[in-house]
Amino acid sequence: MPAAIFGIMAEFESPTALVAAARRAREKGYRKLDAYSPFPIEELNEALALHDNRLARLVLGGGVLGMLTGYGLQYWVAAINYPLNIGGRPLNSWPSFIPVTFELTVLFASLAAFFGLLGLNGLPQPYHPVFNVPGFAMASRNRFFLCIQAADPLFDRKETAVFLESLEAKEVSEVAN
């Protein structure tokens, strides 16, 4: 058994080639694979069967929490902790509590979106094996990469490399762990 590697990476020159390769790899039965590109490619979601919608739920949760916090805070301040009787007007004067409730809803939802983005993407991440591939820096410029991970049950160091070569990859290289 040779030294463990993270996976095998193929390099492509266009988004079209990357999407086609990702589709072929899925068809072949590979599941632990990821694509890297310098800009978002919508077709990859479908090619790699990405259906993660947790962020939307997080943001909704953040918004609801913010709304409750905003209204609760004002109710507590104006009606419980520091009630001011001005001409017998109601302490729970809800119409004037709307703006701050709204602002805190947006604030909490946005914070949920931001931290959700970091959390779901596992950032900050100081080390990741894919950066060991020479030329991977081009993934943030004009190159497109497809990586099949060694953790995939179908992964075979030789066969997977041969398969990736067959996808008209510009270059295929092993990803050191």
């Binding site: 990821d34 694509a35 962020l55 301040v77 520091y82 509590f97 602002e103 946005s110």
Partner: protein, 459 residues
Amino acid sequence: MPDRELLEADGGQGPVIEPGHTFATVTDKISSVVLTRRTPVFWFAVLSVSFLLVMLLLFGVTVLFARGVGVWGINIPVAWGFAIINFVWWIGIGHAGTLISAILLLLNQKWRNSINRFAEAMTLFAVACAGLFPILHLGRPWLFYWLMPYPNTMNIQPQFRSPLVWDVFAVSTYATVSLLFWFVGLLPDLATLRDRSRNSVARLFYGVLAMGWRGSARHWRVHDQASLLLAGLATPLVLSVHTVVSFDFTVAILPGWHSTIFPPYFVAGAIYSGFAMVLVLAIPLRAVYGLQGMITMRHLDNSAKVMLATGLLVAYSYLTEIFMAWYSGSPFEQFVIWNRMTGPYAPGFWALILCNLVIPQLLWIRKVRLNTVALFFIAVVVLVGMWLERYVIIVTSLHRDFLPTSWGMYYPTAIDWMIYLGTIGLFLFLFFMFIRLLPMISIFEVRTLLPEARVREEA
């Protein structure tokens, strides 16, 4: 003019990006401004001038802290002088950034992709300048945290029925959300800079900020969702901010302030001045850094059109104000308008009409919209006009209210001017630091504009 040729390339509408660019060229062109190109003399010149203005700001603020708000021209009856004028002006300028980054994203206006980054940065810095003023105006600025509700031994709490407290929440939320939105957009570009810089300090700096972004399809999916959700949240937020600012005025029973048209009128004015600032910054920058291929005439033309449209909304609001004063039958309302037009501040009012209503009508002419020099000067005129508008609203309404015995005049002092000019310096200083250290155009979004970014389906 090379701009003219570009414009004719696409049925007169003009391309949003110059033909011939590839993923590599846009990446190199935008990142070279930060990483490899020699910093132009223009940059040093603006930075030096703005640095001097920042010193002026620090001097003014020091005098203010040492001696109190009496160093300003404010008094009774005009207790809201430059501080509130500048606050409203700056926060209005910020609005264009969010409009471009959020509303145009939701409307799928692709042309925004090359101007959204610096417009968002402009928002952040404008809000920073705006936020200074209410705090400086507090009199005892070191107690600003009393504005927030927190358990305290005095057992007092802020009044949540007051728009002034709503303002604290609106502006601080706006600043936070703008910062998050801006940073989310920057994340992939920071990774680009990390991968492209050859200097180890720069690589560490961008590497830490990029937080390990590697452009994986999973990253992009969440990133896309986050951008859209933040845009959806920022859109009502930006409309709410200037609405809340206008509530500061409308809840007062003062004639000239007590009006239901203020919220939409303020929002339109905010976008008007914001787009003017976008043009004032974009026109010199694209020339100095040779970015005419990315910030094309199409962008300037579209921004000019937005300015014209919002300018007309503002004009409509002025007319409505005048009409409502007459129609209300209230002698006090009528007096305020008459006093604005013929009173001691009449030159300010007529200058405002000239700057905001008359001169921008030149934008109807296509030739003017395609002339960068003319466009730059019209944008400056609009910025001046919008500042005068706030001056007129605040000072003329306050200086003569119901009782002639309580009338008075307002004259700004040297310290007022120092602090105002100082914030312009602060804004430019922050902005020019930004264009030196971070990509001023969103690299990954410009890549998506290229024809080669399209995935072709093979049959």
